[in-house]
Structure formats: structure tokens, C-alpha cells
Symmetry: C2
Subunit: 337 residues, 2 copies
């Protein structure tokens, strides 16, 4: 029936009140009398009026919307960051548009474009693994558009980044293996094009150096840290029987490696101890349960969004890196009795 949506003009005509007054009434402006407001609100309800945000956003040049781009929403870490963002956003009266880049550069670029054409007030992004070119951010940053990078920072030029102290956490994780008797510790590393994995790598190296352990290139396995990469790494490890500990740059790879090694008759943690990174929910329930680094995910979301809202409202761009503290969660996979 009622094909065309009800507009303020319908209410206006219906009541013989100018649409500007209707608009002000619906926005609870003090310029409209109580009596008129009530009449308008009642009629709006009656006609099933629903504000057209597109028109409102176009006119006011303010969308009260932010965009969030993460590699994948299914990752527990990102889902938690998003929860943190949404909580802050809700309180601040912002809408949140969630997007996943699936770690593809092309997709990420397209998403940034779509968000901007929808005139979001700011963007929070954890850049995709496939991204090595940052031009699509530079343009907008130069115009003072608020973009904040979290977890996986933007490496070029000055930006507002929110990261965790990967280096320190990785050093601690590796040190923990050393203190638990590991002599030959391998590292499952991610793509070195990504700053975050370089920091984790550096933490591993720093721990070895601290204890005067030799750095052995053949103990370092670089991959995309997917499930199948873990199996591949595990196979390589079996060729190097002296390896008695692994610090993996994420949980997923550690877990798939562990599962494979178990099928090959390895005893964990007795033969090989493991420490992961991220504290995926799965880590707590596998056997042996995985020692890992817990990241302050929810907090990261809150911090990132709070900073973004500040930038949006004060128009002050900080270009400053905030570092949050992660925490080593000790479980069974790293304790050789």
C-alpha cells in the first residue's frame, strides 16, 4: 500500500504546520512549543514516520558513523575489539559499520573507498596482510580525515597507531620457554612485510640474546600462519630433532602444529614445549592447553574508538602510538615437569 515512505512534509501537510517546525519538533528543539511538539510526535507515530538518515546526513554533513575494517570478524581477537568499539560508540551515539578485508589488499582498498563515499566520520582499521601499499590512506590522511590503526599499524609516515607491546610479550614468551628448560627454541614467524610480525620476531631474538643462546636461522620458519602452515612447520621440525620448544607468532599455527606432532607420536610438552600468541578460545581447551599471550582486545577497541571520537570532535590529529600491555598466560603446553 504505503509505498512511498512518510516524510516530514506529509506530517507538515497533514497538520498544516511548516516542515521546518516539524523537523525541529522531531529533534526536540526548544524553538517549538510543547503543545505543537506533542501534536507532531503523535502524528508522526500515527503515520509511521521514520526519519530518512540519508537526507539528514547529507544536509548536516555529519554521519555520526564510523567504519571499522578488520581482516576477519570470525577471529576472536577482532570480534572482541569490535565489541569494545561498539560499546564506546553506542555511548557516544555513533553508528558502526563493520567490514572484513579477508586480508586482501584489493578488498581493503574498495572498503575504504565505500566507507568514504558513505561519508563516515572516521575509520578504525587493522590493515590486511596483503597490504604493502599505503597510498589509499595517505590521500585521506593528508586531508585531515581521521584514521586510526590498531593491532596491525600503518608503517609509513606519521599515524595514530594503537598496538600492543609485541616485542616485550615475545621476549617474555621466549624467556618463559628458556626458563622452563628449552635449549633449542624454534620460532613460527609471520610475513616479515608486516611490522607486527617483525616485532614478534625481534622479541624472540632479544630473548635468545639475553641468555646468550645462538640464533639459528634454520629454527625460524616464516609463513602466513594459517592452519596448513602449522602442519608444514611441524613437518620441518621433525627433521630437526634437537628442537625442544617453539614460540609461535600466533595460536592457530601452534595448535595445528601441535596436533600434527601428536599424531606423529611426539609428547607435548615433554618433547617439545609450545607458546602461542593471541589467546584464541581454542587454546584453553586443547590438550595440552596452550600457553599464550593474551592481548587486551576489548580494551584496545575502547581505546581506539575513544581516540577516534576525540579526533573527530576536536579535529586534533595526534599521530601518536599508544602501546597496550599484553599478558603471558601460562598453561600446560610450556611446562616440562
Amino acid at each position: 500500500m504505503n509505498k512511498g515512505k512518510i516524510t516530514i512534509h506529509d506530517i507538515s501537510k497533514n497538520l498544516g504546520i511548516d516542515s521546518s517546525t516539524v523537523s525541529r519538533a522531531l529533534n526536540d528543539s526548544p524553538r517549538v512549543s510543547k503543545k505543537t511538539k506533542e501534536k507532531i510526535l503523535k502524528k508522526a507515530e500515527e503515520l509511521g514516520y521514520q526519519r530518512n538518515s540519508l537526507a539528514s546526513k547529507l544536509r548536516t554533513n555529519r554521519t555520526n558513523t564510523i567504519g571499522v575494517i578488520v581482516p576477519r570478524i570470525s577471529r576472536h581477537f577482532f570480534a572482541s575489539v569490535i565489541s569494545g568499539i561498539e560499546e564506546t560508540a553506542f555511548d557516544a551515539g555513533y553508528e558502526v559499520i563493520i567490514c572484513q578485508s579477508l586480508d586482501s589488499y584489493e578488498r581493503e582498498k574498495k572498503l575504504v573507498d565505500t566507507l568514504l563515499s558513505n561519508r563516515v566520520d572516521g575509520i578504525l582499521i587493522s590493515i590486511s596482510m596483503g597490504t604493502t601499499n599505503y597510498d589509499h590512506f595517505e590521500n585521506y590522511k593528508n586531508n585531515g580525515f581521521p584514521i586510526i590503526f590498531f593491532d596491525r599499524p600503518c608503517e609509513v609516515s606519521k599515524n595514530t597507531n594503537i598496538i600492543i607491546d609485541d616485542l616485550k610479550a615475545s621476549l617474555e614468551a621466549t624467556e618463559h620457554l628458556i626458563l622452563n628448560g628449552c635449549k633449542n627454541i624454534a620460532h613460527f614467524s609471520g610475513p616479515q612485510t608486516i611490522e607486527l610480525y617483525r616485532r614478534r620476531y625481534k622479541g624472540y631474538i632479544a630473548a635468545l640474546e639475553k641468555y646468550n643462546f645462538p640464533i639459528r636461522e634454520e629454527f625460524i620458519f616464516e609463513s602466513n600462519l594459517m592452519k596448513q602452515d602449522g602442519i608444514q612447520c611441524a613437518k620441518e621440525i621433525l627433521k630437526l630433532p634437537e628442537i625442544d620448544g617453539v614460540f609461535s607468532a600466533n595460536d592457530v599455527t601452534a595448535i595445528s602444529a601441535m596436533q600434527y606432532l601428536k599424531t606423529q607420536g611426539k609428547k607435548l610438552p615433554e618433547d617439545i614445549a609450545f607458546v602461542g600468541f593471541s589467546n584464541e578460545p581454542i587454546s584453553a581447551v586443547i590438550e595440552p592447553s596452550l600457553t599464550t599471550i593474551n592481548q587486551p582486545d576489548f580494551e584496545m577497541g575502547k581505546v581506539a574508538s575513544t581516540l577516534l571520537f576525540n579526533q573527530i570532535n576536536n579535529k586534533t590529529v595526534l599521530n601518536q602510538t599508544t602501546i597496550l600491555e599484553p599478558e603471558l598466560i601460562i598453561r600446560k603446553s610450556s611446562i616440562k615437569n
Copy 2:
């Protein structure tokens, strides 16, 4: 510097070409000559023009955007459904706005409202656990607005629902426990206000009836199926030592119950066999690995979105339920040697 965004009017003035021609050129209309198009495209690029989707959507009364509301994006099942939706949407040239209701009725209502005020062309929704009142859908449905319900259908009046065959799957799951020697099978059930959990409950009952097993009320535990509910259920089970099998309406509860029972010295599956529902990734890696029902998640997303796009474009509302086939994945938790 360049505070105000570039519009077609800037290009228009800059080249002395009317803005309508600029608009048509940017949309590759055949009404503009090749030469003019090239000139306009070049200038647009040069000025860093970016279309204002808000204005475009307002004018055309078409947003090419759909909204998706799920209880939580972190749930593997929903993340996969979303991937399916996004794939179809991408091919069809639609934007997707992802929202999570966190199983709250209030939040869900607000999200529906926000999506509609942003004039999405249609909505895909898996209703929240907290939702028992469906008025917020009825209004819009009556106006012919395309809404499709998936996984957790809308129970009132006629709607387009896409569900899996929960009853059949639950029957199979329970039957599987019976065939593997379980004599006293408990059921962890969800809120009976939700159709989906009623169907799973019915499947459980149907299996018992098929094999002439008595239905014992004290073996049926209703909860919200969260992690802590599983522990609670496990505690109850310990008081009923005759229970030798459990069919749980989701994996999360099954897993936390299993973990608790293990700490209490129970042998799984020897003492108590388990079958879950959902095939969460975690199910494959716990010990014993959990037998469960795999739902065609990605496919559900594709089917739901395809149906939605049809409704949007043909204006034909089907009000028809599509039932997809789930699959029993047999792992170790249910096989008593």
C-alpha cells in the same frame, strides 16, 4: 586544506560543463560524448573527486545496501553465514552492513530501526534469543519491505525463513547415541521460547520414542546454553549417575560440561557420551573430539542473500520456508568402544 569535499559542481565549474553532464559522464551514460567523458574523468581524478553516496542514494531512492543482523559475529556459524552473504552481495553489487544484536531484544529493535532509517533495500536477520515480540518486523513486512529470517526463524505469521532441518538432525544425533549403546540420554536444551530449540528438543524426543525409550523429564536441562550453563548442567548430571549420554543443543554447553566432568574424574565417552550441535571449530580439537551437527553455514548465507536480492528486485515476497540439510559429524566423544 581541502576541507570541503569535491563535488560534481566543482568539476562542472572547473571545466565549464554542466553538472548534469558531469554526473552522466561519471556514470558512463551514453548521452555524453567520449571526448567529454575523458575530460571529466581526468579532472575528477585530478581533483580527487569522490562520489557522495548519501546524495546519490537519497536521489535515486535506492541504496544497494542490505543489512544483516546476527546475535554475535564471533560465533563461527554466523561468521560463515556472513561470508556467504558477502560473496553473493559482492557479485550483485550490494553493500552489506553487519550488525550484532548480542541476543538483546532492545538492541535488535534499535538495529532494525537504524538500518531502516538508513534505507537499506532489505534485511537478513537471525533473531536474538531475547526476542519474543515481533511487532518491529510486522510493521515493515506489511509494507512489503523485504526481510528474510535465517537459522532462527520468525515464528509469527508468514515469513521467508531459511532454516536447517533441526528436527531431523537432532533425531539422528540422539539415534546415534542410542545405537552406540547409550541407555539414559540427557538433553541440554535452549530456551523453549525459541522455535529452533523446540525443534531440537522434538528431535530428541522423537528418537527416544522411535526406540521406545522412556522420556524422563529430569534428564532434560533447559538453559541459555552459555559456557557457565554447561558447568551447571554437568553438576546436575553428576547427581544422576545413570546418565550415560548427552545430546546438547549446542557445542559450547557440551564442551564446558565435558571439561567440568573430566575434572571430576569422569571418563569420556566411556562413562558419558556426548553429541553437540553447530560444529564449532573448537569441537574438532578438544579431547575427546566432539561429535556434532555441521550446519551448511556458508550455503545458508548464499541462499538467504540470493532470495533477498530476488525479493528486492522482483518485488515478489515468497513467505516460504527453505530447509537446508545438516550433517552428523561423528568424532570420538560419542563412540564407546
